[in-house]
């Protein structure tokens, strides 16, 4: 854990690295076309595959985005922990521990997918273009509200006595 008392080069390294990761992530979203909601909807519009010669009016471009990204993360998650016992700026790798397939997982994915299909924005592209597009800004505001609503809903469920 990083605490306020920690050596400042370590802290600066953490922040600088996280900031750089955000920058590269944004570059990838912009270059790939993920920040264009119409392109996202064109990809999700799978039934258009029947309209004309393959792939019809369906736009498969975004499958290449996920393909390119997952090629890299497959290597990342297979190799990093063999190359280094701990991350550069953290005592340990924070591996997700949950592995059960449950109602929140499926229910959440159903709702998220529905919203993604309606507006063409998922959280990364919405934030990355929030200062460029009024649409993205309004969507982001609603998304943050949805997150807070879900958080308070989950808090009530887990602590019924309070």
């Amino acid at each position: 854990m990083s605490t306020p008392g920690q050596a400042s080069p370590f802290r600066a390294g953490r922040l600088g690295l996280a900031f750089s990761a955000g920058l590269v992530f944004a570059a990838g979203l912009v270059v790939s076309g993920m920040t264009q909601p119409l392109k996202v909807m064109g990809f999700l519009d799978i039934t258009a595959i029947n309209k004309g010669a393959f792939p019809g009016l369906w736009d498969p471009t975004l499958a290449f985005v996920m393909g390119g990204a997952v090629c890299v993360t497959l290597l990342a998650f297979a190799w990093t922990q063999r190359l280094t016992p701990s991350p550069l700026f953290d005592p340990q790798f924070d591996e997700p521990r949950q592995n059960q397939i449950d109602v929140p997982l499926i229910g959440g994915a159903v709702l998220f997918g529905a919203g993604w299909g309606i507006a063409g924005y998922c959280p990364g592209p919405a934030l990355a273009t929030a200062l460029l597009s009024v649409d993205a800004l309004i969507f982001t505001g609603a998304m943050l509200a949805g997150m807070l609503i879900c958080k308070s809903f989950l808090r009530k469920k887990t602590s019924p006595e309070s």
Partner: protein, 139 residues
């Protein structure tokens, strides 16, 4: 600069950049680059002294702003407000309830070979496709 490359190839380059950013966060901080989780944790503990999440989000927003400027990002509403706002609420609620979005479950979860994430990705892709099909002509 990409004018003479095939659009699928450019998309894959963008995907590789997203993957490299996720690798950078894993290698440097040992954290999953899940945009919805990072955002919702900043919302619930904005004053957390370990503020790498704020730094990541700042990079994402500033990077998008700088790099996206020359591109053709639609500024006119592609969807009217009565669709845009409910869609945002659904995405926010759904990603917190389901613990991830396209980056956390998609880019990172699939890279980790997580069955849980694979199920989530299959589910949100399916409902996304259904939503687009049902909404065709709605706006």
């Amino acid at each position: 600069m990409f004018a003479n490359l095939h659009p699928y190839f450019i998309a894959a380059i963008g995907g590789v950049l997203i993957g490299l950013a996720s690798w950078l966060l894993w290698w440097g901080l040992g954290r999953i680059a899940g945009v919805s989780s990072i955002t919702s944790e900043v919302l619930s503990a904005p004053a957390n002294p370990d503020n790498w999440r704020w730094a990541f989000l700042a990079g994402l927003i500033i990077g998008g702003c700088l790099l996206g400027q020359g591109l053709d990002i639609p500024s006119l509403p592609t969807r009217p407000l009565y669709l845009l706002i409910p869609a945002g609420l659904l995405v926010g609620f759904g990603t917190v309830w389901g613990s991830g979005c396209t980056s956390g479950h998609g880019v990172c979860g699939l890279g980790r070979l997580s069955v849980r994430s694979l199920v989530a990705v299959g589910t949100f892709m399916a409902t996304g496709m259904i939503a687009v099909t049902l909404m065709r002509g709605a706006a």
